[in-house]
Symmetry: C2
Subunit: 414 residues, 2 copies
């Protein structure tokens, strides 16, 4: 394979995670040292920045700051939720992309995101091929939701899982200090896949986590839920902890978080699922005190409680994308293959997944990892998730607070 | 002063903090090694446990586990919110306390809590003196609210402040990733004192915190708030971050969190202050996206993000209480005196505050530490708070998760 000389652009897409910038660091630091990548650009707000010709010249950044990206949460370049039209229907965006690629002599396109972003990668690559423009396209996986197909797990999941398990262990202590107990409902992210909510079982494994766990993979049964919660509270001095995924639905497809309330214009007011479950509990078993907590954005950006395993793997994913592209690969997304050592120790090897396979497919928690009653995950889930939260992200500090990367963001001229 | 031989009891009271157990470790480890304290008891659920004669024999615990208490959040012995009646009006509880003190030969009473708990200490001590029962009584301060009178600061505040500033820095990154900004409202604990909400300014000092800060010390002006938020959002691509104390009130004394909504029985439905401010913003400036976050219980039990300074000072407060009582002092609460070294470095010395002075007095954020407009704190607040969040609580871990103390809680026999 002949060496392809030219510039590289990297973009971040979709919801942030606490390690997405670690992948950025992996891409940038590797690309800057690669012999054949002539310029390294960061796209402002993902594909949007390329369409707008707004690219940052990463060569102008201090190397030290690029290393700081490893522990800087969220998308340092800015993110975007933008779905490219099918090129067969509307070529406008693609023509513009090609124009910018030519303008900056971009021959390497790295895109970091989830399902939708891999679809974007795939479409861009197909178009460039059709247009006869030589360009290597590589996806870098990312999502706290852990729902990407074809990879053992996704960068971002381990750190969010570690934060959730840690925080639940702490809240568990707090919830039980008074002589009269309380029912605690915790809302966790995950619209269609319950990986993050399942991670709350890691706290339970330590004797300080939820009694009941509800994933979006199974229909939510209101009566059974109220029975289970009441039974547990009754047997435990009023105490019961519940972890619920934001996306749980009834068997008829209605979201549990849809409170049924309508505003003055008749629009549905979607409350949180914790609020909805809390109201149900207060009505059905008013003898118990109920508190609700929504982990909200905190869970996806808590780099101060990051998993070292996750941070390192995210970096490695970015690095591998560049190395493989330089070596001639294109149209792949980097993925993780779990390996098991002689003594059962966890290992993780990089692999490549064809973009056409990974795009737009969701990986859910297998039914056999959820208990029969559908209100907890079993030891298979724990075995899967536990290695991913190991090690502490040893983040740099300044004045007792995290020291995030400070990028100059010099706008590149074509 | 003659040595007083006898047992010691320690109780925890009021809302938990992430370092209240560090004070417990200080009390226990010091008392167990004191020559004249014959037995060390932990009261189950504070004063409630003493009234019920439910005491744990701390001598039965592994010393290693007592050290683990330093980084175990919340009240390991259980807490209570129980206000003793005036002895002049109703002696029932006091008689019972005296009975239990005699039964267990308790000659040292250590009580860990905030304003109310110091009031309890004071009342118990007065009664024992009147009854001619020799007993030394010492308060150990505790409250994330930092509102205790007579001490530079309170154990628990530094760690909560560090967690709040860290989390806000992270959320700030997350809130600004899209090309269209958002207004973010964060609700922080503090019913009457704004110390914790003020701590969000530490994140702002790092360029990644709130633009507006509202403390309960000043009346909340709805019109000015909406104007300020709109102005900032307009100037910053729709971005504005707001930190508000749960206890902010209008000039007429109404809580901002009182949404005015009534349930079917006509009871006021108190929502969170973030929800209330969020609704105001959505109505007044609907062109901006608004998100709300309630830091909830997370902020008071996040020992994984504890301040080393705070953890050590909390331990020292417990240790000092025991040492001073053994040396003959009684009717004091341990307090902190801030010292400044030759090069301006922060120091903290233990001091004793008469219980009668500390009980039931609240310390608020001084007006001159808040800016003139009443929507931010100034550099005096930063100078005060910054030293308190220094150092990382290096907590023990197991399986990538915190390793909390595991107490046997052996019930003591009189």
């Amino acid at each position: 394979m002949a060496k392809l000389k030219g510039a590289a652009v990297f973009g971040q897409s979709g919801g942030p995670t606490s390690v997405i910038n670690s992948s950025a660091a992996g891409v940038f630091l590797t690309a800057l040292k690669s012999g054949c990548i002539t310029k390294v650009y960061g796209a402002a707000n993902g594909i949007r920045g390329i369409l707008d010709g707004k690219l940052y010249d990463i060569g102008c950044e201090d190397e030290k700051e690029l290393f700081y990206l490893k522990n800087t949460p969220s998308s340092a370049l800015g993110s975007v939720r933008y779905k490219l039209a099918d090129a067969a229907e509307d070529e406008t965006d693609y023509k513009r992309l090609l124009e910018v690629f030519k303008q900056f002599n971009i021959r390497y396109f790295f895109y970091n995101g989830g399902n939708d972003s891999m679809d974007t990668c795939n479409k861009v690559s197909k178009y460039m091929q059709k247009a006869g423009y030589e360009c290597r396209v590589m996806g870098v996986p990312k999502t706290i939701d852990n729902d990407l197909y074809g990879t053992d797990h996704c960068p971002g999941f381990g750190s969010a899982a570690k934060y959730i398990a840690t925080s639940l262990m702490e809240v568990y202590q707090d919830a039980r200090v008074y002589d009269k107990g309380s029912i605690m409902v915790v809302e966790i992210m995950g619209r269609n896949a319950g990986w993050l909510t399942g991670a709350s079982a890691l706290a339970a494994m330590k004797g300080a986590g939820p009694d009941l766990i509800y994933l979006p993979e199974l229909p939510f049964d209101r009566e059974k839920f109220l029975e289970d919660a009441a039974k547990i509270a009754r047997a435990n001095n009023g105490n019961c902890m519940i972890a619920a995924s934001e996306g749980i639905k009834y068997a008829d497809g209605r979201y549990v978080a849809d409170s049924g309330k309508r505003d003055k214009f008749g629009h549905a007011q979607l409350g949180g699922v914790a609020t909805a479950l809390g109201e149900m509990l207060r009505e059905a078993i008013p003898e118990y005190r109920v508190r609700t907590i929504e982990l909200s954005l905190l869970q996806r950006c808590a780099s101060h409680c990051g998993s070292k395993t996750d941070v390192e793997e995210a970096f490695e994913a970015g690095k591998t994308a560049v190395e493989m592209a330089v070596a001639g690969k294109t149209d792949f997304c980097v993925g993780f293959e779990r390996t098991t050592g002689k003594n059962g120790e966890y290992g993780c090897e990089m692999k490549l997944i064809p973009l056409s396979e990974i795009a737009n497919t969701e990986k859910k928690v297998p039914r056999e990892w959820i208990n029969e009653e559908g209100n907890f995950v079993n030891e298979k889930f724990i075995e899967y998730a536990l290695p991913l939260i190991q090690g502490e992200a040893d983040y740099p500090r300044e004045d007792g607070l995290p020291r995030f990367a400070r990028l100059k963001k010099v706008i590149a001229e074509a």
